[in-house]
């Protein structure tokens, strides 16, 4: 059993009681909702004659189905329009604040929470979306839930859960040029397995994590779930506080910042905290990581050979064989030179300002390869505006990228942005599952945003370190 970790402390602060079934009942500090997983929960509430208990602690946005090209209402896709209309009605009836596209604050739910300052250290945060783990970057205890649990939270502002074990992942060493947070988390998942985190919460620590900006920390916490861990977090520090101070919430309530800082400090894991497991990763050895298969755990360094299934642990062999058949790759080859048809720069993993900025430095003055369709989908309307003001939009468009509006887009292919047929996609998103990007024959190669830029330019999976970066402005 862990003791003295952020997880233990935040859990204890939010624990209401132990339920007769042995689970703990936890108070939820922030409930984020979106259009795909919430309508059925509102329906269940209505069936039971219940109301939303704490609309003031609930915040909505629209991201999964929202079109990223033409957003005129009604949406061209009837089903999308219906889902949006349903959400509008539900939030209006319950009095829930809604960052819809007319507010200028809309975006992917895991991008807007941190932007607005409602994501804070020491909060419990839930959302009907597995990438809710993203908010752990701020030292929040944040996890994805299903629709029946959304019903519970709407009705009671609490959730029934069992406490998990805590694994500390200590990352040290300086990152090589071209290597970033995305590569660290892909390596962690490769090493610990896609199921390695089941039953655990991941605490990311060590100098390499401490040196990351908040966006990098979010990229890492975001993909905790791809390693099986429902939540992941980084202890809050000066980098966290600096971000918070600039957000709407603390700009509007500057006194709260000083009021809350002692709480944030108090929930940091103690120096002598006890963990159920500790793993050490030397990040200085990492090259940019790309996936060769159909799970996020099937990653390799850009120069490394794709493993032969028979060289993998027995329980990974069958998945690897099927993955290699789907991706049409051979053991022994590297992924460098793998032809791509689409380059997607977006998603809650990698569509924030520094991600776009780094990619733009690769793209500037170059052209997207002839047979590649490339597009940028900013994580939020705020990211979009900031990028436009900074000239990034022009850089991408001049290179032949399409510049879109904010949303989840081709990360999961629920709007019109989808792979077609067996197209291969260099993607800054989080899942390379078969069918994930909208076509069941589509092939997804996960990588960091600069690597996506390099792939767009060269038309194939490429080592971004071979392309010179261009200074912006």
């Amino acid at each position: 059993m862990s003791r003295g970790t952020l997880y233990d402390k935040v859990w204890d602060r939010h624990k209401v009681t132990t339920l007769p079934n042995g689970q703990d009942q936890l108070f939820v500090g922030l409930h984020l909702i979106h259009e795909v997983t919430s309508p059925q929960a509102f329906g269940m509430l209505q069936e039971r004659g219940l109301e939303v208990a704490r609309p003031d602690l609930t915040h909505a946005t629209v991201d999964h189905i929202v079109p990223t090209a033409n957003q005129d209402r009604p949406y061209a896709d009837d089903a999308a329009e219906r889902m949006m209309a349903e959400l509008e009605e539900n939030v209006r009836d319950a009095g829930i604040q809604f960052s819809d596209p007319t507010t200028g604050d809309q975006g992917i739910v895991h991008v807007i929470g941190p932007e607005q300052g409602i994501t804070q250290p020491g909060k419990t945060i839930v959302c009907g979306d597995s990438h809710t783990s993203t908010h752990g970057a701020f030292g929040a205890l944040a996890f994805g839930i299903g629709t029946s649990q959304i019903r519970d939270v709407l009705a009671t502002q609490t959730i029934a859960m069992e406490k998990q074990k805590v694994r500390k992942i200590e990352v040290t060493g300086e990152l090589d040029e071209g290597v970033e947070a995305k590569d660290i988390i892909l390596e962690i998942i490769r090493r610990l397995g896609t199921e390695g985190g089941v039953g655990y919460v991941y605490e990311y620590a060590g100098e390499t994590i401490e040196n990351l900006d908040m966006e990098g920390r979010m990229s890492i916490c975001n993909m905790s779930i791809e390693g099986g861990a429902r939540a992941g977090y980084v202890n809050p520090d000066e980098t966290t506080y600096e971000w918070l101070e600039g957000t709407d919430y603390f700009q509007e309530h500057p006194e709260k910042f000083e009021d809350l800082k002692p709480y944030w400090e108090s929930i940091r894991s103690d120096d002598d905290a006890e963990y159920d497991d500790v793993v050490e990763i030397d990040a200085s050895e990492l090259d940019p990581v790309v996936t060769w298969g159909t799970t996020p755990g099937q990653g390799i360094g850009i120069d490394d050979p794709i493993p032969a299934p028979e060289d993998l642990p027995e329980d990974k062999q069958d998945t690897a064989r099927r993955a290699q058949e789907h991706m049409r790759v051979e053991p022994g080859q590297s992924m460098e030179g793998y032809d791509i048809d689409v380059a997607f720069l977006g998603s809650c993993t990698n569509a924030r300002m520094p991600d776009l900025r780094r990619a733009a430095r690769i793209v500037k003055g170059r052209q997207v390869a002839d047979d590649v369709r490339a597009f940028v989908v900013p994580g939020s309307q705020r990211v979009q505006r900031a990028a436009e003001e900074e000239g990034l939009k022009d850089i991408f468009e001049e290179a032949g990228f399409e510049w879109r509006n904010a949303g989840c887009s081709m990360c999961l292919g629920m709007n019109e942005d989808q792979l077609e047929g067996d197209e291969a996609c260099a993607s800054s998103s989080n899942r390379n599952f078969v069918g994930r990007q909208g076509s069941k024959d589509g092939r997804t190669v996960l990588m960091n945003p600069r690597m996506v830029a390099a792939a767009a330019i060269t038309g194939e999976v490429a080592d971004v370190r071979d392309l010179k970066e261009v200074a912006l402005q």
């Binding site: 059925q40 704490r54 602690l57 519970d152 899942r431």
Partner: protein, 214 residues
């Protein structure tokens, strides 16, 4: 109104014929592709379970256990490791439940998926690789014979065999005692909820009323 008296069935025991779904890391995108989630209810999701591995582009059936006549009445699914990984979509267990699944036996389950199953009263019980392999093979050979999943005793019985399985403690208790629908249970703790909230430094304590609705 109050739903505290709502009758929640006890799920201490499930019996029925089996269906083997083989492979590790079967994600919820496979169980229910995202395009079928553009709906505001869960009704009718059953026919789309595993759609893309069951049908080709022209909607012709592919080789898949769920397409086989002999498994059409199955209600106990036997799966391998890390089943239900990926997206938190409850649409996945909803689709399986609406197809006819009442219990799942596997080597391991992704956490959110298992939680979603519990919220629907579907047990997710685990056993080691050898036990699962043997059971999958037996189901293949005996599609019309019954499997008994004893949630309370943590055993699975089939064809004269009895295998020990594990059920997570809280899940077992919740299912066996019929306390897996937690809304009413938690709502009853209104005072304790308020007390917890009052101690949280980040909440605006000028607004402390948890709305009562009964």
């Amino acid at each position: 109104m109050s739903d505290a008296t709502e009758d929640i069935p006890e799920v201490d025991y499930v019996e029925g014929t089996g269906i083997p779904i083989r492979g590790n890391d079967i994600d919820t995108d496979q169980i229910i592709p995202a395009r079928f989630m553009k709906v505001v209810t869960f009704d009718g999701l059953g026919e789309f379970a595993f759609f893309d591995v069951r049908f080709d582009d022209d909607d012709n059936q592919k080789d898949h256990p769920m397409n086989e006549e002999r498994f059409q009445d199955a209600n106990v699914m036997v799966v391998n490791n890390n089943f239900g990984c990926g997206s938190s979509r409850e649409h996945a267990p909803q689709a399986l439940m609406r197809w006819g699944i009442d219990a799942i036996i596997g080597e391991g389950f992704a956490e959110i998926f298992a939680g979603n199953c519990l919220a629907l009263g579907i047990p997710t019980v685990t056993a080691d690789h050898e036990t699962i392999n043997a059971l999958q093979q037996w189901v293949d050979d005996n599609p019309s014979k019954e499997i008994e999943v004893d949630v309370a005793a943590e055993t699975v019985r089939y064809g004269g065999n009895e295998a020990n399985v594990s059920v997570d403690d809280a899940q077992r208790q919740a299912l066996v005692e019929g306390i897996w629908d937690t809304t009413a249970l938690m709502k009853a703790n209104r005072n304790a909820i308020e007390e917890t909230a009052a101690q949280l430094p980040y909440l605006d304590q000028t607004r402390s009323d948890i709305e009562a609705d009964d």
